[in-house]
Assembly symmetry: C2
Homo-oligomer: 500 residues x 2
Amino acid sequence: MYEERIKRTELQQKIISADQAATLFKDQMVVASSGFTKAGDSKAVLKALAASAPANPLKITLLTGASLGHDTDGALAEAGILHKRMPFQVDPALRKKINSGDVLFVDQHLGESAELINEKIIPRVDIAVIEALMIEADGSIVPTTSVGNSAAFAAAADKIIVEINMSVPLSVYGVHDIFSTGVWPHKRIIPITDAGSRIGQPAIPVDPEKIVAIVLTDTTDSPASINERDEKTSAIAAHLLEFFSHEIKKGRLPHSLRPLQSGIGKVANAVLEGFIDGDFHHLTMYSEVIQDSAFNLIDAGKLDFASASSITVSQACYNRVFSNFEKYKPHIILRPQDISNAAEVIRRLGIISINTAIECDIYGNVNSTHIGGTAMMNGIGGSNDFARNAYLSIFVTQSSSKAGGISHIVPMASHIDNTEHDVDIIVTENGLADLRGLAPRERARLIISNCAHASYKDELNNYFTEACKRGGQTPHLLQEALSWHSRFNENGTMLKTVHV
Amino acid sequence: MYEERIKRTELQQKIISADQAATLFKDQMVVASSGFTKAGDSKAVLKALAASAPANPLKITLLTGASLGHDTDGALAEAGILHKRMPFQVDPALRKKINSGDVLFVDQHLGESAELINEKIIPRVDIAVIEALMIEADGSIVPTTSVGNSAAFAAAADKIIVEINMSVPLSVYGVHDIFSTGVWPHKRIIPITDAGSRIGQPAIPVDPEKIVAIVLTDTTDSPASINERDEKTSAIAAHLLEFFSHEIKKGRLPHSLRPLQSGIGKVANAVLEGFIDGDFHHLTMYSEVIQDSAFNLIDAGKLDFASASSITVSQACYNRVFSNFEKYKPHIILRPQDISNAAEVIRRLGIISINTAIECDIYGNVNSTHIGGTAMMNGIGGSNDFARNAYLSIFVTQSSSKAGGISHIVPMASHIDNTEHDVDIIVTENGLADLRGLAPRERARLIISNCAHASYKDELNNYFTEACKRGGQTPHLLQEALSWHSRFNENGTMLKTVHV
């Protein structure tokens, strides 16, 4: 069966086991792997590398598209193999090693993460591991459920190990659109003018001489966890849908809105699901990842087209989509992440961007990455690729969590990934603050009034009032600005008086 | 003489005095004005409006390209006319009113500031005041020494007042390149592929019916102050030039480097002047503003082409350039600020961006706007338009100031405009930190070691060491993170022990 997936027949003799492939890695190598939002990642070779650690102790720098699935990052971290990791991760075991300082993590804009390699800031990639649907007769690699940085990795790597994933149906062929801008001084215009623009090729061009090994796998992607709507996410979605309806009434948005981007998670799914019932038609997406909700919208006849760098769905949705891929293929396209997240395209298409904040401050600065200002959660991902250049940059968060002990609206964000200059709308279950055209003092009043949790409103208002007495464009009491986070570290709650 | 500058002859009867023009403004109007880095601003009408305040008290929202010259912002602020001001300013009197909360200031990315109007987030512009070289037969307005947001303002305004500046020589005609992307869903590709690409028209298209008044002026732009090199700026420039030479040797940059952007000020001028002596050739600029140093580089045969949105030079340079403009015209182009600062073009051209920081923290976050976390200095300007999408994003600052009482390298920046994700290089007179590909803990060691002032190194190292004991991707001691700023507010110095 593998023969039809390795059309360059001479490469069929390169098939080896994952354990054999693991022996190709040496100490201090720079390794790159396919994988974006757990989709299209290495299923066998990286895991085998982790397992080989006792016999073959080494340290590598690992670059990916974004997160890996199957606990691979955790296995590598716990095996002590990772010296440095970039540009994104979501693994609890790896996170622990990052925060203890054992693994160096470079938290990068996903749309820019290939640049260090393309521009030779990282001078070489020793081995790239790329999951593929098939290899074409000219050696080109057809990706599976994500494109990520695989094209950049394949171009830069000295050696390529291909994982042919036999479980991904061949009907996936043709969903990818591989386009490279090239490098300076011959960087090309990205000629995308709508979400569905097809500008490239169905496969990643590869020098077949660089393919040193092929490993056959049949493991599907780690499924996305199913996030049922709850009261808070439903309320956030309702505020956003009401806002969109209001903008339609004002004549600033059509019923098809503008191309949508949405981050991963509960709220994003709840908002997108909300479009099924609302008076919205002919929606499009220009995003990083296509999730369950997008396929539900396609099935409901609401979403015309979705462009992204990966498909990350629940097991049930995976089964539905990949058993009948020809139905969905006309509606979707998978692009390299420097194209899905390109500033140029995001600005031109006028994206409506919806991402999750860890916390927002009263002036509209957003922390997307750090707990208590110090500990890494996942990374900035593509949030600022979109927020920085979107037509509408929306951040959603619950107003409080941990039984009310954490306020997600704080006097000063303890880490800032998306600055006040890049944040248009903040939404919590309490309400929505439209910050466009507002000065910081106006924003503070609106965010506190519309978004903060009732338990924290008085203290936020007091902070703001006292700070205003001291003056400034962005009034702050520096000695108290981060005291809520300190209080949480000491007392386990941001509340001044603990309510029993 | 004015007849040759008003080629649509019927408009010649619209000439009135500035005082008469001032009577056209009403309370609560949204007013837009030309002017970018003090160049091409309204010389007469806004000043007359300020003078009319006692007789005609009103409040307006004022939008510009960037800063105005001739203390106009100060006059308007002190006259109590400004309700809201965006997107940038540099005026001491206005700054005072902003920080006292009397004037609302919206601090915006300059490349995005036209968007609120184009997209009707600000639903109307009542009057636009635009300085012009001349009006063409079809009513088109030819700008003077800047383009700024004038094209967007002219398109959106109900009424236009044109200030014909008789002092600007007609030889300036042809230096402007007016291009509009249009608005969604028909936004166009910006087809600039090198700094010199000419893609538009020499004049701003205008419906002549909207021109309600013409005022004649003959005042030249406020001159830029001459910033002589000093020991610190020379040292910063030397570190940067050495870095560029190193990158050339590594094969990552050619002797022509890549298109340069540089902010306004001493250091930028010192760096650019440094190119006169170095082994650099066929340089180009793709920047916001063309300063003295650019003309010196053109004269020295080092700079082939400079693209920007304005020309802001010293009086001596102004006299030299504008008395012989035909000599310089083939080497320069002036664009609308949403084109000079376009993410799309900055990324495509691979810009080397050099901007000034107010302070940097040990992890590479940059404060570009606020003193002590609260008081506005000037605004973010175009710094993040460039830093966010540049090939190389460089921030320069002195390591300390106020007789050593302020460290410009701090544990945590008190306000963040350019995040760690967008900052590649930090330079002080002590040295340069190349942060590319480094994790936060690596960055901290390098920034403290290479950039911090000797008086603060121990305390920064102690902070970092203690913070690392608590762990985290970005180790911080939240209770001490902003204590240096608090200490300065209390003691007038960030030093723990005051050295007498």
